[in-house]
Symmetry: C2
């Protein structure tokens, strides 16, 4: 604790064993580190490729303590974690990055927004919902967001009119103006223990309208260089405002009026940066390992543009995943296939992704759309 | 057996659990496959990142049978394997690629050379050593090679004069002319189950003269395009001559007279192509998985040049590895660090490697040499 890290036998802990933890673990193992994953699902994706898995939930204090005590450095693939259990361990000197204080700030989307706002970061107009009557205070349409626990489109509700109030989120929530969105942009900022900062290219996220899940990502975003620089400056300002250590996915709106507004920050690897595995010198997954272990950050240079497409579980199926069209998509030029090893599929579950590389981004997009048409993740049980 | 493969739950077996098996396993896991490794060392590098390890040697027939019976497809990270045990399994229809017949041919360097020669592939002048007197039959200097079992410079002896005959290799061997080498070149050829062929760029291998171990690799080789094409044509002819399935590292000599001669073929991932992980669209490690499972081959396009440097155990140390200089080399631009997770180091053992990327190959080489100077793998026991 607080002694210099010994990179010869470094033990890394990862809270969360889904696809983000899996790829992070693979990059840590590439560097020769020992990796233990905490996840409630035995044989989770990350557990399959790591030295050890502790089977336990993210609010299981005993298991969190066990993980942190047996590892030299612990990090996260998700933010829905018992931060109150982690704070005393961090205060005792255990290396937990991002710090539980950072995670706590980010967990609560309302507090996160208020904090960024107080630091002069541009955010959409927002307002706390203290009583049900507050729901009408910004007019309609308006976006209602749960303060905690939402992800992949969950915990977000568009209230178009008074009629929709009956569907309003019941727990703690806040309102956000309905932004007139031109593009949804994202960027990863890495900041290591020493305060060194590195920024990835700005990318463009496209969403599946049915479920509001990020569907595909274009890297780089099709925006002017000056705007890309503005996005980078804002993203770095965000991460420096709370002195984050690790990597941070910053999601932003580009409004039709050309303004950049920060939507939210994820204190971990981000779906929008899967493309970095193939397209950048250093992937986001290696970068987080470098950042939290105090190693110098790697180059974030884009060496070839790409389009990433999430492979979601087909509607109408659950159970063990059954792949359709794998040979066909791998016959397309410059396609990299990732499948996470989840034992069960369900509609819209993130089961894998592909990255299509091309020096010409339009050609990559065309092949990505073709691949998306061909490839299906069905399941053993029709619904 | 001989039924179409089900990519939804494909089980891959890998014979050999060192660094080549480790990275191959990581790429198979990326694609969602289940991986079992056979290796005599518990917790070997590949075992650390795979679903399962069978602890057993490569001549342990029961363990080989166990691996092959529990996997849909089995492949190799090394060629020193009991091929006689594998042949009947292959003949029964088990998917073992490259086939044990291919492995058998390649295992015996003399038979390999004779076979390539018979197919019109250019090879150095060679001669069987039937009796000790044969050792003088090509004059001096001459290269004596063990027919079987050599690797990383072992099983090769340069006989400079009659004086050296007392050091001659004792087992079955053959002689090869002392080629007047300008450069040592290597190339990977992939050929899948369907006979589709793909060729990687030609690279240049530089050797540590002290122990004749490949020390660094420049990708691409600094040779004229017409010569590179000749190398590719010869390499493809080699692999097609024995209808190899998998990936094959073809090592060649470029003589001072400008001739290409095939030195030897490795029926597996090759040290000279580690650079493909970062520099090419599809790494050699994903390519072998695609090839042996009958998937379409991936693009071999070089997207950024690089220099790969092996990180060998320092002279004077053994025991648990101790790293020196990791933060320093990671501070260099565009350096990717691989450490294999071997529990013991010894002088000249391959412990890891780095790949230095740069659009300008000379700049990559300069940084690679600097990194090699800075980084050391020492050990807990001084010798």
């Amino acid at each position: 604790m607080n002694t210099p890290l010994n990179y010869s036998h470094l033990k890394l802990g990862i809270i969360g064993g889904g696809q983000l933890g899996k790829i992070m673990s693979q990059k840590a193992k590439k560097m020769g580190f020992h990796v233990t994953v905490l996840d409630p699902t035995p044989n989770c994706p990350a557990g399959q490729v790591s030295d050890a898995q502790i089977v336990g939930g993210f609010y299981d204090q005993a298991k969190l303590v066990e993980l942190i005590r047996t590892c030299d450095v612990t990090t996260f693939e998700l933010e829905n974690v018992d931060v109150e259990a982690l704070k005393p361990l961090f205060d005792q000197g255990h290396a937990i990055y991002p710090s539980p204080y950072t995670i706590a700030l980010i967990q609560n989307k309302y507090e996160q927004k208020k904090f960024l706002d107080s630091k002069g970061i541009p955010v959409p107009t927002y307002k706390d919902v203290k009583t049900p009557s507050c729901l009408e205070s910004l007019g309609f349409p308006v976006v209602q967001k749960a303060k905690k626990g939402g992800y992949d489109g969950r915990g977000v509700m568009v209230l178009k009119s008074k009629e929709d109030l009956k569907n309003a989120i019941q727990g703690e929530s806040f309102l956000e103006e309905m932004v007139n969105i031109d593009k949804e942009l994202a960027i990863i900022v890495a900041r290591n223990l020493q305060g060194e900062v590195a920024c990835y290219p700005v990318v463009e996220m496209l969403f599946d309208e049915r479920v509001n899940i990020c569907d595909s990502v274009m890297a780089p975003a099709r925006i002017a260089p000056a705007l890309a620089q503005e996005v980078k400056d804002i993203a770095i300002a965000c991460v420096e405002s709370f002195e984050g250590v690790g990597i941070f996915g910053v999601e932003m709106f580009l409004t039709k009026e050309g303004k950049i507004l920060v939507n939210e920050i994820a204190p971990r690897p981000h779906n929008s940066a899967h493309y970095t595995i193939e397209s950048c010198v250093t992937s986001q997954f290696e970068q987080i390992v470098r950042a939290v272990t105090g190693l110098p950050l790697g180059s974030t240079e884009l060496i070839i543009p790409s389009v990433m497409v999430n492979l979601l579980g087909e509607e109408g199926f659950e159970g063990e995943p059954l792949l359709e069209g794998l040979p066909e998509i791998l016959a397309l030029d410059k396609v990299s296939f990732h499948f996470y090893g989840k034992s069960h599929t369900k509609p819209f579950r993130k089961m894998g992704h592909i990255t299509v590389l091309d020096h010409n981004l339009d050609l990559a997009l065309a092949r990505a759309l073709k691949a998306k048409d061909i490839f299906k993740v069905k399941g053993t049980k029709p619904l």
